[in-house]
């Protein structure tokens, strides 16, 4: 009898070039996504060692972290950021790599454009010098973030030295209630298993609530796997996956399509496959989520009050909670509708795809942002998404409500460009990290879904989007 394997085991085996006695393997990499921040030192390293690139066509490059989202006609005004983007352009020109430069309608956030172009395919290994590479696991691809040394390693050898991680499965049983989104699901999962809950593991997400998700939703879930400590998240390949991929520029065409589909039909965990760790979550427990602290695990339902460190048994944890509340300027036991927000950010590799924009627009339509909101902005994930949203009239809905409609990029998710919070400012953000200073020094980030961010924009404070 054939041994039952997990999806992770299968993809690993397909790509294992060799293995040492101690279990250290050499893993072949199919797709290497490259951006301006974590690549310059890798290109420089190759040059110093006089090494060439092993497989240039595996690379798809795009500037995203540093690009401005407004006033593109002036280019990048920050000279340090401009040098970094210019360096990427020069490296890509020199080595003849595919790059979507600024001004190209295909430019956008690296984890948005890969799938959008069909450059992420089931069964692939996908790497990028960015922790949110886990996003691509939505396509049953083994995808994970790497550091710059490994970027250089993949460029030079097309491989990575790796040991297999453990298998973990998170099953979200049953269907979620109306109005609950992929973001709420993944924030809830992180709240349950913790920010280190998946360390050393690859997490496969299964269950009705997961398979019911669109590819956009699945990408949101896998995107935040890293926030649960796991480098990679996976979702099995099914008809939803195939429907999304078919006909995209980098997807297989004609007879190779059929051949590929036949191969991809095996990209799921076999019945009876063993997982090192199993977590089962009841979908009906999931309400709209809001983070209240400075780690994504500091999250709860918008209907609950801000947690009280006095009720935490573990003194280190209680101390961490109090530090977080102090930083966030919040009181224990405060209801969320008393938490007044200053800025709204809809964007990032977590939530900047067309469905995210539609969900936010559906809440905003015919309404205005609250007077107290200093800035509300929408940053589409790519030029193509921006174009599609404009074709659907979503830009008008946002602009009429008082939002700014920006150009694509990472923007205020990490604030490497001018889009930042000022000290003390509070933001309802659809991004992925609420760390201290993440969106600007002293800034206070609350992670929410696009619909919840839109609702906060209208009300000026957090509210259950299902009740407005």
């Amino acid at each position: 009898m054939k041994m039952a394997k997990t999806l992770y085991d299968k993809i690993w085996e397909m790509h294992e070039v060799r293995r040492d006695d101690d279990g250290t393997g050499l893993l072949y990499i199919d797709r290497h996504l490259v951006h301006e921040v974590t690549s310059p030192q890798a290109f420089e390293g190759l040059e110093i060692a006089q090494r060439s690139l092993w497989r240039k066509r595996s690379i798809l490059a795009v500037p995203d972290h540093n690009v401005p989202t407004t006033g593109l006609e002036h280019g990048i005004t920050d000279p340090v950021a401009r040098l970094q983007v210019d360096t990427l352009n020069q490296n890509c020109d020199k080595y003849e790599l595919t790059e979507f430069k600024m001004g190209d309608v295909r430019q956008g956030i690296v984890h948005v454009i890969g799938p959008e172009q069909g450059a992420t395919l089931p069964g692939m290994t996908v790497v990028c010098g960015d922790s949110h590479t886990s996003t691509h696991g939505a396509f049953a691809a083994l995808a994970f973030g790497i550091g710059t040394s490994e970027v250089e390693h993949v460029m030079a050898t097309q491989c990575l030295i790796q040991k297999k991680s453990r298998n973990m499965r998170v099953t979200v049983d049953g269907a979620v209630a109306d109005g609950i989104t992929a973001k709420d699901i993944v924030l809830h999962i992180i709240g349950v298993i913790g920010t280190a809950g998946g360390t050393g593991c690859t997490i496969e997400f299964t269950g009705e609530a997961i398979t019911n998700l669109s590819m956009e939703g699945r990408m949101t879930v896998c995107n935040m796997t890293i926030e649960a400590g796991a480098r990679a998240g996976l979702i099995a390949c099914d008809q939803t996956t195939l429907d999304y991929i078919r006909g995209r520029p980098f997807s297989p065409q004609d007879e190779t399509w059929d051949q590929a589909v036949a191969c991809w039909s095996d990209l799921h965990s076999d019945p009876g496959a063993l997982f090192d760790r199993e977590v089962v979550i009841d979908a009906s427990d999931i309400a709209p989520q809001v983070t209240w602290g400075t780690s994504p695990e500091m999250v709860c339902s918008v209907r609950q009050n801000i947690p009280d460190p006095a009720r935490e048994q573990d003194p280190i944890k209680a101390g961490g909670m109090q530090t977080a509340l102090d930083y966030m300027g919040l009181e224990a036991n405060m209801p969320f509708d008393q938490v007044i927000v200053d800025k709204i950010f809809i964007g990032s590799c977590t939530n900047s795809r067309i469905e995210d924009l539609r969900a936010a627009a559906a809440v905003i339509k015919g309404r205005k942002i609250a007077d107290s909101i200093k800035l509300a902005m929408v940053v589409p994930g790519s030029g193509l998404i921006k174009q599609q949203a404009e074709d659907e009239g979503l830009d008008r809905i946002f602009i009429e409500a008082g939002f700014e409609w920006r150009e694509p990029g990472c923007s205020m998710c990490l604030g490497m460009n001018a889009d930042q919070l000022k000290p003390g400012e509070r933001c309802a953000s659809t991004s992925n990290r609420n760390f201290e200073g993440r969106q600007g020094q002293g800034g206070r980030t609350h992670l929410v879904s696009p619909a919840m961010a839109a609702a906060a924009a209208v009300e000026g404070h957090f509210v259950d989007v299902r009740e407005i």
Binding site: T24, C159, T199, E436, Q441
Partner: protein
């Protein structure tokens, strides 16, 4: 990469769980296209009282006197002691570069985030995972003894305290071998170039849509 030698060094402790790489090196400094010069901005938001930007003279900024790395002798620390899930978040290798550029050679914590753990070895930084009870003990010792020192012996895989008590730690054989010898991963993998080529021939024959 330099060979990792046995040493004894000053310890600095930061008593927080889940320290993220954004805290270790904030985003504005990631715009650099170099691998060096990040040490002055290690833990920038905690270390300075005023905001910083790349290119400015950081020696002119106001230091936070309460932050451990601003105090003597911890400003010369070579060993950082921290709580669980150290260096979670962003994959930025700049976090490793910043620690090393400051002078840190070893980080001791109950656990590390996977990407950081991996990045450390590529640069000769040794992350040591010790049982959280032992880490508690080291925190207590650090609080009680100014100028607290620890010894690190990679060959023997032990942390040694002032009384000569040895605390063993686990480490992958391959990683240990690379650190002790200062080996460059890429050079090692290039030895298998023919194996990779043979793999590719078969791989693309089976999956032509990827070629």
């Amino acid at each position: 990469m330099e060979k990792f030698e046995k040493f004894s060094g000053v310890v600095a402790a930061i008593d927080r769980p889940n320290i993220d790489t954004d805290a270790i090196i904030p985003k504005q400094y990631l715009k650099s296209i170099k691998r060096s010069g990040f040490g002055i901005n290690l833990f920038d938001d905690w270390r300075y009282l005023d905001p910083g930007e790349p290119g400015q003279d950081h020696s002119e900024r106001r230091l936070n006197p309460d932050f451990v790395l601003n105090r003597d002798p911890c400003k010369h620390a070579q060993i950082l002691l921290a709580r669980e899930n150290f260096a979670c978040g962003s994959s930025r290798e700049h976090a490793v570069w910043a620690l090393m550029d400051f002078g840190i050679k070893v980080v001791i914590a109950p656990s590390f985030a996977d990407i950081f753990y991996n990045n450390s070895f590529k640069n000769g930084l040794l992350p040591i995972a010790l049982d959280s009870g032992l880490v508690d003990q080291l925190f207590n010792e650090f609080e009680a003894n100014e100028g607290y020192l620890l010894g690190i012996d990679l060959e023997k895989q032990v942390v040694v305290d002032a009384n000569g008590i040895e605390m063993e730690f686990d480490l992958d054989e391959f990683r240990k071998y690379c650190l002790l010898n200062g080996f460059d991963d890429i050079g090692l993998t290039m030895q298998y170039a023919e194996t990779i080529k043979a793999f590719e021939r078969k791989y693309y024959q089976n999956m032509p849509w990827l070629n």
